[in-house]
Amino acid sequence: MAGATDLLVHWPIRPEAQDKTYLDLSAISELRPFRWTDVSLHIGALTTYWDILRDPQTRAEFPLLHEAARQVGAIQIQSRGTWAGNIANGSPAADGVPVLLAYDASVVLTSMAGSREIPLREYYTGYRNSVRRSDELITSIILPRRRYDFSVFHKVGARRAQAITKVGIAVTREAGARAANPWRVVASSVAATVRRCPAIEAFLASGALVRVPSDFFASIDADIRPIDDIRSTASYRRTVLARLLYHSLRGVSATVV
């Protein structure tokens, strides 16, 4: 455990928690907070939302980290919650994970046997399941330093502050011709995990004109599978996702008019 903000919500009355062993990482200074290299930003496992929020350089280079961090609860959670914990908790409604995915982050998993680096887009295998073995810790998150000419993060909740996401998006467009498709589109709370949306990305790169939000439905339906739950309905989520994409990208992408 690091900031324990997810863990202690039902603590210690959640029955299954009684049988688990938790390892406190909070005093391991090697895991905090973050460092830069020429090509990447390494976010240590104990880096909190507030650590990022108070740093001007990350705001300049990775503005979506700030957008998301500002919307994770309020200062009481931002001061304690960690980016790595947001990944480890595995909620499909996570707010940190979408922007990390939109920046093509990798996760460093470390065990006694050594370290391995896994692309975040390949990390989750299902609802709250991942490729992380039980003997592995997330020790850092690596963001490649690339140029982006557009980025946006939106979170729709029941109210502006202190709400859990009903539908969220994080979108980036990489500047220059490094990648065949410069778009990265990530959706949250609309599938079993936060997820990259390759069909929507391909649709944006295809040159097809988008004149109304519903033009996104075919690619949305190829990428995500929203459900009805305590916070919203599948139909609302699908509709709002299309509108978020349309209104965020209108005028930004030449094909969204």
Partner: protein, 168 residues
Amino acid sequence: MNSNAAHKPVCAESDAITIAFTLNGKSHTAKVAPGERLLDTLRYGLALTGTKEGCGEGECGACTVLLDGLPANSCLVPAFQVRGRDVRTIESIPAERLGPLLESGATQCGACTPGVVMTAAWIRDHRSELQSFTTRALMAGNLCRCTGYDGIIDGLERWIASESGGRS
């Protein structure tokens, strides 16, 4: 609100952890259970009942304390994690310093007030660092069901003006 089951130690007495930390400026030691919340250590272990429990799940901010100078929900802090760290509670703030907050209708039933004051104290002491945030955004983690918030925001602004960044 969490049931009282949350307050029951989940370990034998022999599993208790002794921690040393700074509490309201003084060195303290406490024996805590591994599953104990800082909120319970403060209220039940140390009889500092100024810190209130509201939701018990990190939403309402009634239990806000300053942990190494930053606001944190003490209901979500495992007590053992404050080992070697600095904890400040509402008891560290003299009541006579709260005049402008109280005169502006910032408090009615009072349940949220200790948490509101702790977040407000942090904002007051870090004005320059927090310039890119609105006061309302900074106070978003402290829910109040009485005042409609205007009294809290007005009182906070007056409090800051009256103390002009001084520490209490």
